[in-house]
């Protein structure tokens, strides 16, 4: 499926269906990351169950240096 990921169109491999899969694809499972899908924040405990849909707007967010 194709989703919007961090502002870019992203074609996902067929075996990537859940948010957990997506994080695994980008090697983010052990990172501090916040997931927002279609402007809704997804709680960590739902990563394994939540199924991605075509055209979902996904944001993978983290903390960077700032003032």
């Amino acid at each position: 499926m194709i989703i919007q990921l961090n502002g870019k169109e992203q074609q996902l491999p067929e075996n990537v269906v859940t948010v957990e899969d997506l994080l695994h694809l980008f090697a983010l499972n052990n990172r501090i990351v916040i997931v927002e899908i279609n402007k809704n924040i997804l709680r960590k405990e739902h990563y394994q169950a939540h199924l991605l849909k075509e055209k979902d707007k996904v944001e993978l967010i983290h903390f960077v240096g700032g003032g």
Partner: protein
């Protein structure tokens, strides 16, 4: 001790984590500053390029309180969205409300800042708004129930120090909540001055991160803030227009 919303801190220096020349320098600067509150920005992860080391992920989170900011937000709505994303990390419930209204001066938008603060208070955040040194705005923010006021000394990153000490003084006098001078600090004297005026703390970033030697500057700022605070507590002398002798006027051998 600095108290913000029932949390106490030994250090009155709040440190920004942006713009450091390297991770190594950043770590050392944070260490010598003895700061306990660090600000962070909330951004998209750079997943399409090779992973860069992330400062936050290397931090001992037990030692620090995270104060994420809403930098990037132009409206209250965007600020609230950013704040909620930060809180969702489970690592923090404090938020620095930063809603910039002018791209050149980087001065805050008072209306959106007020709106964002109100909404975030309703959502249960500990709210620290970054604001201009407008005295009435500071009062209105306090009336909303924010947990500290953070007026700017001068524009962000400008290094101009405190350009309106009178306004800062008014804000400090009227506030029952902590006043943390945030933005525009350039050198240690500025940080000391803020504390001598009675501020409860100072938040700075560029003054340290962009100094030629950020680690030494971080240490200098720590000392300046301590000195300024002690000076304030010690009760300085009054200013006079004319001289008052320091040596006795009696028993002079010349009389």
């Amino acid at each position: 001790m600095l108290t913000i919303a029932n949390r106490t801190f030994q250090s009155r220096l709040l440190l920004g984590t942006g713009k450091y020349p390297s991770l190594e320098v950043q770590k050392k600067a944070v260490e010598v500053s003895q700061s306990e509150i660090l600000t962070f920005a909330v951004r998209r992860m750079n997943i399409f390029e090779e992973s860069q080391p992330n400062f936050l992920e290397q931090l001992d989170l037990k030692r620090y309180t995270l104060l994420p900011n809403t930098a990037g937000a132009k409206t209250a709505e965007e600020a609230v969205r950013i704040a909620k994303l930060a809180k969702a990390s489970g690592l923090c419930d404090m938020i620095k409300v930063e809603v910039i209204g002018c791209d050149k001066s980087l001065l805050p938008d008072p209306v959106e800042t007020l709106k964002a603060s109100e909404q975030l208070l309703e959502e249960g955040f500990i709210v620290l708004p970054y604001t201009s040194d407008d005295v009435v705005l500071a009062r209105r923010l306090e009336q909303l129930g924010v947990h500290a006021i953070m007026p700017g000394a001068s524009p962000i990153g400008s290094g101009k120090g405190i350009i309106n000490p009178l306004n800062l003084q008014f804000i400090i006098e009227q506030s029952a909540i902590p006043v943390i001078v945030d933005a525009g600090i350039g050198s240690p004297k500025d940080a000391a001055y803020a504390m001598e005026l009675g501020a409860d703390g100072v938040l700075l970033n560029t003054a340290v991160s962009n100094a030629k030697d950020p680690v030494t500057m971080a240490y200098a700022m720590k000392l300046a803030i301590e000195a300024g605070r002690l000076g304030y507590e010690a009760g300085r002398i009054e200013e006079k227009n004319y001289g008052v002798a320091s040596s006795p006027l009696t028993g002079m051998i010349t009389s």
